[in-house]
Symmetry: C2
Subunit: 390 residues, 2 copies
C-alpha cells in the first residue's frame, strides 16, 4: 500500500530484459512441421539441382539440327521413339517436365508447336540447341547455401527443401513459458489466461503450463520456482496493494530487478530472476497486461526464440485526427481507430479498458521524451489484425 515512489524508464527496463535473453538450443523436426520455425543452422544444397540435364517443359525431345528451317507450311517430320530414348537423328521422344533428358537429345519443343500422328511427329518451328532443357546444376550447385541460419521458414521454403530431399531440419527450440495467472481481484473474471496464451503462441513461444486462480504468495512462489520452463509470466497482483502478492513471491524466492515502470498503462510491471530464470510480473488489468506483454514479454520471447525484437504487427502510417497528450518521461500506449485514412485515439478507461479496446484497430506508442502529438501529425499505428493493408 505504498505506490511507486520511483519508476524505472522503459528504456532501462528493456536494457535489463535484453540481457536475460537466452541462446536457444536446436532441435531436429520434420520439414512439414516447420512452418514459422527459426532455422538453427544454414542449409546447403545436398546435390546439384537439377541433378542431371532434364526437361524444363512438356514436349518432344529432339536433336535441334533436325528442326532446322521448319515452318508452318514446311514442318520437319520426325519418327516417334520411346521416352527413354536414345534420340537418334530423325527421331523425337515425348517427354514431360522434370524427366531426365534422353541420350542424344539436345532440345525440347513444346507439344503446342508440333503435331503427332501414328508414329510421325511434325515440328512447325525450329528448335535451338538447349531449348526447353534445364542443365544439370543450372539452378544450384551442391554445397551452395540455400537458407541462412535465423530464417523464419515460409511455405515456399518447406516446399523447396522437400524437393531437394531434405526431410528434417534443425530449428531453434521454442521458449517454454509458464503462465501464472493470479485470481482476479474483486468482481473481475480471468481475462489474462486466454489473452496471454494466444500472444505467446503468436510470438513463437510454447505455453507449457497455465496455473490459474492463484491468490496467495506461497502458491505463486511455488510455480515461479518449478522446473520445466524458460520464462515465467505472472499476470496480476503486481501492484503495491495489500493483496499484491506477486512481487512479494518474487522477492521471497529470487531477486527483484525492477518494479514500477514509467509506462502507461502497465506501470506496475516488475521483473527479476527466480532460480536464475527470468520472471516478468504483468499487471492484472487486462489492457495493462496486454501492453506490458507487448513491450516486455513478447520481446524477450521473440529474442530468445531467435527472432527480431520488434513488434510483429503490421504498421500503418496515418495522420492523427485528434490531439494526444502524454506525460514526459512516460511511454504511453494509446488505442487507435483508423477511419477514412486518419488515426483517432480511443477513449479507454483506467481499468477494464480491454473491452473498450475492442473498437481499436491498433496501438500507438508515445515515446518517453514526447509530450504527445498535435492534430495532423503523421503517426505510426501498429495494427492488431492481420488483414488490414496500407
Amino acid at each position: 500500500m505504498r505506490g511507486f515512489a520511483d519508476r524505472v524508464a522503459v528504456a532501462d527496463a528493456l536494457r535489463w530484459l535484453d540481457t536475460q535473453a537466452w541462446r536457444p538450443e536446436a532441435e531436429e523436426i520434420a520439414v512439414d512441421q516447420a512452418a514459422g520455425r527459426v532455422l538453427a543452422a544454414p542449409i546447403s544444397a545436398p546435390e546439384d539441382m537439377p541433378p542431371a540435364d532434364c526437361a524444363a517443359i512438356d514436349g518432344f525431345a529432339v536433336q535441334a539440327q533436325d528442326s532446322l528451317g521448319a515452318g508452318d507450311y514446311d514442318p520437319a517430320v520426325l519418327t516417334l521413339t520411346g521416352a527413354d530414348g536414345p534420340v537418334l537423328p530423325g527421331r523425337a521422344a515425348p517427354i514431360v517436365a522434370g524427366m531426365e533428358l534422353p541420350p542424344g537429345a539436345d532440345a525440347i519443343l513444346p507439344f503446342e508447336w508440333t503435331q503427332a500422328q501414328d508414329n510421325r511427329v511434325e515440328l512447325f518451328v525450329p528448335a535451338a540447341e538447349g531449348e526447353g532443357v534445364a542443365r544439370r546444376a543450372q539452378q544450384l550447385r551442391a554445397g551452395a547455401t540455400l537458407l541462412d541460419s535465423g530464417r523464419e521458414l515460409r511455405p515456399g521454403d518447406l516446399g523447396a527443401l522437400s524437393g531437394l530431399g531434405i526431410d528434417r531440419v534443425a530449428v531453434l527450440r521454442r521458449p517454454r513459458v509458464r503462465l501464472v495467472v493470479a485470481a482476479p481481484k474483486g468482481i473481475g473474471r480471468d481475462a489474462n489466461g486466454p489473452l496471454l496464451q494466444s500472444l505467446v503462441a503468436r510470438d513463437g513461444g510454447l505455453v507449457v503450463e497455465v496455473a490459474a486462480g492463484l491468490a496467495d504468495q506461497a502458491a505463486i512462489a511455488e510455480r515461479m520456482a518449478a522446473p520445466g520452463a524458460d520464462l515465467i509470466l505472472v499476470a496480476g497482483r503486481s501492484g503495491t496493494g495489500s493483496d499484491d502478492v506477486a512481487p512479494l513471491a518474487l522477492a521471497a524466492i529470487g531477486q527483484t530487478a525492477i518494479h514500477g515502470i514509467a509506462l502507461q498503462p502497465g506501470g506496475s510491471t516488475g521483473m527479476g530472476l527466480a532460480r536464475n530464470l527470468p520472471v516478468i510480473l504483468l499487471p492484472g488489468d487486462p489492457l495493462a497486461c496486454l501492453v506490458a506483454y507487448e513491450i516486455f514479454a513478447g520481446r524477450l520471447i521473440r529474442l530468445s526464440g531467435g527472432r527480431g525484437p520488434d513488434f510483429p504487427h503490421r504498421v500503418c502510417e496515418a495522420e492523427l485526427a485528434g490531439k494526444i497528450a502524454s506525460a514526459v518521461g512516460c511511454v504511453e500506449f494509446r488505442q487507435m481507430r483508423l477511419a477514412r485514412g486518419r488515426a483517432e485515439p480511443l477513449a479507454v478507461p483506467e481499468t477494464g479498458g480491454l473491452a473498450a479496446a475492442l473498437g481499436a484497430d491498433g496501438f500507438l506508442v508515445v515515446p518517453a521524451p514526447l509530450e504527445g502529438y498535435a492534430p495532423g501529425a503523421r503517426v505510426r499505428v501498429h495494427l492488431y489484425d492481420r488483414g488490414w493493408q496500407p
Copy 2:
C-alpha cells in the same frame, strides 16, 4: 500431348471459382482455442461492465467531502476501516482496483497521495466525488454489441470475452481440405505436400488428409470422390502430357469447368466439380503450384472460411529496379527481391524455380492487360515473410 489451344483468362477463372465458395456452418469452441478463428455471429455484452460501481485504482475509498481542503502541510486525517466498509464520515477503507466500491464511499485516493500509520490515514490532496471510481456500466451496457460476426479473433478479443464471462464462442467451421499429391514426374521429389499443408493452414483451412505419391488416374479419382472434405486440391499431373492423369480423373468422375489458364507460371491449372465439391488441379512444378495456390485455392479457402478474398501478405510499395516484360492477356507472377528500397525481379527458371525463389522477398502480380513495367515504376510487392515492415 496436345498443349492448351485456348487459355481461360484469370479473371474468368476467378469468377467461376467464386461461385463455388460455400457458406460455412458454425461450431462452438472454447474461447482460449479461438485465436484467429472467424466469429459466426455477433457477440453482445452479457451484463453491464463493470457490473457495479467499483474501484478503478488501488487506494483508499473515502467520502470526498472528508478530504476538502487537504494539502501537503494540512492533511485530512481519517480513521482506517475494513475493506468491505461501510465507509462512514471520517473513515477510509483500503481497496484495490476491480473491487466493488464499499457502501458510503464516493471517491478513491491512490496510495501515493496518502500516508497510513496504525489506524490513521492522512490524505494530502482533496478527492473529487467519483474520482478513482468506475461507475456501473460505464464501459458497456448489457446487450451492447462487442464484436461483429466475421471478426477474426485477436488475442485482445479472447481476453475481453473471457473477462466478461464468455467462455465459448460460435465460430465458422474451417474449410476441410484434402491434398492429393501426385507422384513427382521423372527425377523430382515431392515438394508440394509440405508446401500446400502450410499454405492451407495459413489461410485458415484444415488439412484432413494428405494422399501422396499417387500416379494413376483411378487412384486420384478415388481420392477426389471420397467423402470428408469440402475441397480437393490435386497437385501435379495437371498438364496435357501422356502421364497427366489428374484432368482425366476429374473428367471421369465429375465435370471439368476450366483447364488451362492465361497465368504464368501456373498455366496448366484446372478446376471443376467432383460429386458437387470443388476440385482444383494445381501444377506439379512447385513454384507453379505455389502461384496457382495463391491466386485460386487460397482465395477459395479464405472466402469459404468467412475471410476476405485478398492475399494475406503484407504489401510493400517500391520502385522497380529493372524492367519487367509480360505477355498481354496473361497474368504473370514475378519473384522479387527488395534491396535498398527498390524491387528487383529475380531470374527464375521455367521449372524447378522454387529453389531460386528462396532468394525472393515477395511476389509481384502483373495484371493481364499490361505488357509489363518500365524501370522506375512504382510497384506493389506482396511479401513472403511476416516480419518485414514498410
